[in-house]
């Protein structure tokens, strides 16, 4: 194996999803697949935001939230959310939530593409590992 010791590059596109039982799902993803917990923010059963890293690079984000089973979304890191939002809407993306500043410092929006897939964009780049 070559390059096994190098640092994996930080992901800029994250698979993400809502979970009925976020703590249970995190445990499953760690035990069953080998994801590694980077951060889990929340209180009691509720998980506001969690990041799990894949040892070879990349990772997923999840949190407690209404979500139908089997629906993945993507969170995409971007530098200029305002311009991207305008461009997405211009091209027919359907707004799920408009531009807003999050309390953790990110500026975000989320939309659906014409086939109904959900995409979130924001300036938050993921927690450093």
């Amino acid at each position: 194996m070559i390059g096994g010791m190098t640092q994996a590059p930080p992901p800029q596109v994250w698979p993400s999803f809502g979970a009925q039982d976020a703590r249970g799902l995190i445990k499953f993803l760690v035990d069953a697949f080998g994801f590694e917990e980077t951060v889990v923010y929340g209180d009691g059963d509720r998980v506001d935001h969690a990041e799990l890293a894949w040892p070879l690079g990349g990772g997923v984000m999840l949190g407690s939230g209404p979500s139908n089973p089997g629906t993945f979304q993507a969170y995409v890191v971007c530098d200029d959310p305002d311009a991207l939002f305008a461009r997405a809407v211009e091209n027919g993306a359907v707004v799920v939530s408009g531009l807003s500043d999050k309390d953790y410092g990110s500026r975000d929006f989320s939309v659906r593409d014409p086939e109904g897939n959900k995409w979130s964009f924001g300036t938050y780049r993921g927690h450093p590992r």
Partner: protein
């Protein structure tokens, strides 16, 4: 002022409680909450109730016992019980059971209300039902605590008005005007305006209209039309049953815009999971027509 119906019958040691009250949303909430009802029953027979597809999302705040969902509208999810529940738009029934006691407040939430109260389009919740805390966070428990502390339906409804009114002020509840207009057209026509007409009225291509409408509501324009038509048909059926007047299914099919009685029956199988007659037999004893229905 809410309409009240209340009966307490004492049989031996066990009191039979059967109360219901209708909430008429005030001007501030009316765009978001199309109706509300309070109910409290105890000492009645255990039963199963079909949560049928309707053009409203659902918010339920229970009072004494959690709500038991024996079957979700999404069959992949197992049974569960909830202190507070949000249900999205759906086209198949959910199954609610109780063992002789149930109490709570149920609200019918419009797609605009999903934006304003839940902070997300109705499309995000389609075919989903579950813990309201997943959707509104700490507000769910707070609503339940406040409602439980009140002693009358009027006071409980006042709490709902106040808390949801505050909540609505905090969100950008806008829907694209073309989609909002199409929804109103479907509502006012009880699902009988052809989808091609709806698309033409927006000035958009049929494809673009379909994707915008679906992302907002979670339903395709055609599915939404089916839900509006079905909603009218089953309310009409129930209304005739409560009034004791009865209705011929063939007449109802024609009135509701179905091709014929067989199409109405097929739609009942699909949306209620049973025939119109079976649904009436199961629900009739229990059914209370909304005041708005009686005026129609």
């Amino acid at each position: 002022m809410p309409d009240h119906r209340q009966s307490v019958t004492v049989v031996g040691m066990d009191a039979v409680i059967d109360e219901s009250a209708w909430l008429t949303p005030g001007a501030g909430l009316r765009p978001f909450v199309s109706w509300g009802s309070g109910f409290r029953q105890a000492g009645v027979a255990p039963r199963r109730h079909r949560g049928l597809p309707s053009p409203e999302l659902t918010l339920i705040i229970t009072l004494d016992d959690p709500l038991v969902l024996a079957a979700h509208s999404d069959p992949r999810r197992g049974s569960a019980s909830y202190e507070t529940l949000v249900g999205g738009l759906h086209t198949t029934p959910a199954l609610i059971t109780h063992e002789g006691r149930q109490s709570g407040i149920q609200l019918g939430i419009t797609p605009l209300g999903a934006r304003a109260l839940f902070g997300m389009p109705a499309g995000e919740l389609v075919n989903w039902d579950g813990d309201a805390a997943q959707v509104v966070g700490g507000l769910a428990a707070e609503l339940q605590d406040r409602v439980r502390a009140e002693g009358s339906w009027a006071e409980r409804f006042a709490v709902i008005e106040e808390m949801l009114g505050k909540r609505a002020a905090g969100f950008d509840g806008r829907i694209r005007p073309e989609v909002a207009q199409a929804w109103r057209r479907l509502r006012d026509s009880r699902g009988t305006v052809p989808v091609s007409t709806l698309a033409a009225e927006t000035g958009w291509s049929a494809r673009y209209f379909g994707s915008q409408f679906r992302a907002e509501t979670g339903l395709s324009p055609k599915a939404a039309a089916r839900v509006f038509r079905f909603d009218f048909a089953r309310r009409r059926l129930a209304q005739a049953a409560t009034a004791g007047s009865g209705v011929r299914l063939a007449d109802l099919a024609a009135e509701a815009g179905y091709y014929d009685q067989a199409h109405l029956a097929a739609e009942f199988r699909s949306m209620a999971g049973c025939s119109p007659t079976r649904w009436l037999a199961e629900e009739f004893r229990f059914f209370q027509a909304r005041p708005a229905d009686l005026g129609e």
